[in-house]
Amino acid sequence: MKNLLILGAGTAGTMMANHLTKKLPKQEWQITIVDQHETHYYQPGFLFLPFDIYTEDQVKKDGTKFIPKSVEYIQKKIELIQPEANCVQLEGGEQVNYDLLIIATGSTIAPEEIEGMDGPMWHKNIFDFYTYEGAKALRDKLREWEGGKLVVHVTEMPIKCPVAPLEFAFLADSYFKNKGMRDKVEITYVTPLDGAFTKPRAAKALDYLLEEKDIKEVTSFNIERVDYENNKIIDYADVEVEYDLLVTVPTNMGDSVIERSGIGDDLNFVSTNKGSLQSKEYENVFVIGDATNLPTSKAGSVAHFEAEILTENILRYIKGEQLEEAFDGHANCFVETGNGKALLIDFNYVHEPVEGTFPIPGIGPLRLLKESKANHLGKLAFRWVYWNMLLKGVPIPFVSAKMNEKGKKLETVNT
């Protein structure tokens, strides 16, 4: 019997367990998956929780329900990965040996990277919404907040779902309008980038929306520290931005097990072949989802596209065939713009986000890079798709792993 071990039962790990259990011969391969938590969080829902759009129960479920019965599930913290010895150490001294390893440990926030961020005011008037605890604490704060300066801030790139902080600013605008207190709130969006988004084409569309919603923008802001005593963030050029309520996306890093095991970069991301998803250092180790160092967005949709390609490559690897460098960096995300509308962006390693229709060329029903109500419904439907199709590895109609170039106005990225 051979062992295939999956580290992390989040979006990517759960999908891989579901794909592989259908493809690998059961008499030859045992699949095992390890995660520290029993709860599986729907992270895209963390954007809606602070505004009372989703309830707590809508963003979390018992994760083991999504793991196929034939897969062995171990609920423990992973202490150390030892790729030279083909084994993994779990908390409490348990050792698991493997023939093939998939690393899907995701990324988490690291507020301790910035002086003053997770100090005494953390979750008092400085919040994140990238964790369940942060999003919930922020919801409670917003329910009673009487207004003032709201600063929505991105610490440094890359972050998962890079549009989420911008969506947060848009939703905040709607939220306060609906509460009849928009005039009491000043919203400022602070980013280390040159513009609202990482891709210039989408940034143009998004800058316009910021203006329309009267959200101020501070760009090229590289934060040095949070002065929590005087309620301001300060950057290396000594630019200061004052806040009454700071909603920040702290530095995103891979899990500390990657650092302990010495297999990651400065931000604990694992060096991965961008087409095949094989680790660059160990041929029987594969990496998927937010844990990779790939130059594409860290998003559930990306993990979904990667999972299809990785499944094929693992089958090839097992048969001793050459891997295919098939992943094109395809990312696809809904951008919630408030007032019941959203826009949709679609891009890959070489193409900028484009205008057009999705998923069926020329028909849609969703429109790329344009605000619409249909896109908003698409975003809300994504939660159902996530729990019922995505995690279980059920193919989503019309949406392929590789970006479809038809029905789109394409523009190649300048490098």
């Binding site: 440094e156 790139m157 890359p158 890079p162 280390p192 980038l193 990482t198 090229s220 590289n222 040095e224 290396y236 050029a237 400065d266 931000l267 130059p295 594409t296 967005s297 860290k298 300048n414 490098t415």
Partner: protein, 102 residues
């Protein structure tokens, strides 16, 4: 786009970044710095050497990288290249503007 600088013709993109590092020389770096109101000192060149080294190894450049570089701290980086230090220093070094992000 073509641009004449320090009596040499170079190819640059719309933002003024060199398209071909082989066309770069210290004189061109000096002249590009002057256009950005920066007078190069030994300390500036040490930073440019570091950037070239990173570029050659195809290691991405970032503010975080500067923090860990051991060459200089971020405050000094800002004081040597005021405004956008990564943007300005890479322009002077004749290498592409870092894509800090995805």
């Amino acid at each position: 786009m073509k641009k004449i600088i320090a009596q040499k013709e170079i190819d640059v993109n719309e933002e003024g970044y060199l398209l071909d590092f082989n066309q770069w020389s210290k004189e061109i770096g000096e002249a590009l710095a002057a256009e950005n109101d920066i007078t190069m000192t030994d300390r500036h060149w040490e930073v440019i050497d570091y950037l070239h080294d990173k570029h050659q190894k195809e290691e991405p450049l970032s503010i975080r990288g500067i923090k860990k570089s051991g060459v200089l701290n971020v405050k000094e980086f800002y004081s040597l290249f005021p405004g956008g230090p990564l943007k300005k220093s890479t322009l002077i070094a004749g290498i592409p503007k870092p894509k800090s992000c995805i």
